[in-house]
């Protein structure tokens, strides 16, 4: 199993994420219809199409450059909360990845950590607000804890933690984003941004598993 993510690897993961978003677009929109405005699937699908097109047109040669290109395309094409949040996350990830030609376990964990901080700052959100941030913090903590076990373990731990967090949040009351307008009526619903974030970590884990 590969111990390092190259630019091509990260681009492949984003292609996988774009496919997953296209496949689950209606589910994401459905979840957002229940607690928000019914556009999360369409938003992310539009953005990830643009991002993968850009990756194909001019394949970047470092993981950092891949994150940067994806972040920029999302900022330009998505709009909404998720455009700003995913955009900020990946731009921060790009900074954390720097000019390195590959990412190892520690590098990946650092990338996730900075991306997570970016989401918190951009969204002015905290743990427990029932947003994508809860999935990212869970994934980041799990990645940090698994660094000693190598990259595949980090990716698998992040994905497991993301899935667990996404499920755990369901009964909570949302305190940020549109779902918060519902007050108690947001309880019992899955958060769309949490579900799409979980998909992303699944795609990283799937890469490690092949």
């Amino acid at each position: 199993m590969a111990e390092r993510l190259s630019a091509t690897d990260v681009a492949a993961v984003f292609h996988g994420f774009a496919q997953a978003v296209e496949r689950d677009r209606d589910l994401l929109t459905e979840l957002d219809t229940a607690v928000g405005d019914g556009d999360h699937g369409t938003n992310l699908d539009r953005g990830m199409r643009a991002a993968t097109e850009a990756l194909d047109a001019a394949p970047p040669d470092t993981p950092g450059a891949v994150f940067n290109l994806v972040g920029r395309r999302l900022v330009s094409t998505v709009g909404g909360a998720s455009g700003a949040l995913y955009g900020t996350a990946f731009l921060r990830a790009a900074k954390a990845a720097g000019a390195a030609s590959t990412l190892d376990a520690a590098g990946f964990a650092a990338v996730v950590r900075d991306a997570t901080t970016g989401i918190a700052e951009r969204g002015k959100c905290a743990a427990g607000d029932k947003t994508m941030y809860d999935v990212w913090t869970a994934a980041s903590a799990a990645a940090d804890a698994a660094v000693a076990d190598g990259l595949p373990a980090v990716l698998s731990a992040a994905s497991t933690a993301a899935g667990g967090a996404e499920q755990e949040m369901v009964p909570w009351q949302a305190r940020r984003g549109r779902a918060s307008y519902l007050g108690e009526r947001s309880q019992g619903h899955r958060d769309p941004g949490a579900v799409s974030s979980r998909l992303l970590f699944d795609c990283f884990a799937a890469w490690a598993a092949t």
């Binding site: 929109t29 219809t33 607690v35 928000g36 405005d37 019914g38 556009d39 369409t42 938003n43 539009r46 900022v75 330009s76 094409t77 998505v78 709009g79 909404g80 909360a81 998720s82 455009g83 700003a84 949040l85 955009g87 900020t88 951009r122 969204g123 305190r175 940020r176 984003g177 549109r178 918060s180 307008y181 519902l182 007050g183 009526r185």
Partner: protein, 334 residues
């Protein structure tokens, strides 16, 4: 559900083309990124005013671009805030060096994208001030929420700030007046049906024939409360009670501006019936409706409902409200 579209994906772009084609003397449509600007912008020596938000709320915001109101508007996809790129490009196109006031409705997506744009502009020496509109009393304003949504007061902020900018107020003064309008405005909406989202062809929520959503937003979010259907006067009274209760009693005196907006499918007959009761209710509370605006100015696709806004006036606000405005949707004195 049948609608007058060609395809869900082209709704916004084709509508913008239509608006540009029918208002060539007033508006200019820019692509990649998309925004709509006054043909005569930048206006030398004047503060610029830029707003935007998801589409589906027409005529807001594009219909309010023109002399005396917005310098530019950034329309996002339906119910999706514009991207930071759109805002940045629009400001660069209309800023005349005197700075730009950004009118932002308080939704996570709008706030974040405008904030990203402001950061990019600041890095480049372009001054912006943000007026955050958060007037919807249906939403609790606490540290445990994203705060109140911006609804009807947005139109009033854009009119007042636009007039202030036109007469030559400074960036700080225009922003201050916008915040003044926000502080003195409260809104509440209710709906009998949700709007039909183009992407899904379905209503955002379904209501039985004897129920309504009270305290709805304008993005198809359900309201805070599902209530039994009542005659419209009772609904207006209920909304007015919530609006008035939310004001500091010391502020809520004298003359007010009443804004009644249909949310999409409310007919002019229905808007007038709502306005009638709202005026009577305010009168009963000892408030004089010195100015009013009634019609479908801020909508939520084809939602059947209305939103009520009360703005407590002062001499300066009346003067700025009355100042000439020439936009596609609001026009007087010009």
């Amino acid at each position: 559900m049948k609608r007058l579209y060609n395809s869900p994906g082209t709704v916004v772009s084709e509508a913008l083309e239509g608006i540009a084609l029918t208002h060539p003397e007033l508006l200019r449509l820019a692509h990649d990124p998309t925004y709509v600007a006054r043909v005569d912008a930048p206006v030398a020596g004047r503060v610029a005013l830029v707003s935007g938000g998801g589409s589906g709320h027409e005529p807001m915001h594009v219909g309010f671009v023109g002399p005396g109101m917005l310098s530019a508007a950034c329309p996002g996809e339906v119910f999706t805030s514009p991207t930071a790129d759109q805002v940045e490009a629009a400001v660069r196109a209309v800023d005349a060096g005197a700075g730009t006031v950004l009118v932002v409705k308080n939704y996570s997506g709008d706030v974040m994208n405008f904030e990203m744009a402001a950061e990019l502009l600041a890095a480049d020496g372009v001054d912006t001030e943000t007026v955050l509109v958060a007037d919807d009393v249906a939403v609790e304003d606490s540290t445990y929420t994203s705060g109140r949504r911006g609804v009807g007061a947005t139109v009033l902020v854009e009119k007042v700030c636009g007039a202030a900018a036109a007469r030559g107020d400074s960036l700080a003064q225009v922003a201050e007046l916008g915040r003044r309008v926000c502080a003195r405005s409260r809104s509440l909406g209710f709906a009998l049906t949700a709007g039909t989202v183009p992407a899904t062809g379905r209503r955002s929520f379904e209501l039985p024939d004897d129920e309504i959503e009270f305290g709805v937003g304008i993005h198809g979010e359900p309201g805070r409360e599902r209530r039994p259907m009542e005659p419209v006067d009772a609904l207006v009274d209920r909304a007015m009670a919530a609006i008035c209760a939310d004001f500091d009693p010391a502020v809520l005196t004298g003359e007010v501006l009443l804004f009644v907006t249909g949310l999409g499918s409310a007919t002019p007959l229905e808007c007038s019936i709502v306005a009638r009761r709202a005026v009577q209710e305010l009168d009963r509370r000892g408030l004089r409706v010195a100015r009013n605006l009634v019609g479908s100015y801020m909508t939520s696709l084809d939602m059947l409902g209305v939103s009520l806004t009360v703005l407590v006036l002062d001499e300066q606000l009346v003067e700025l409200w009355d100042a000439p405005v020439h936009t596609a949707a609001l026009r007087w004195g010009a």
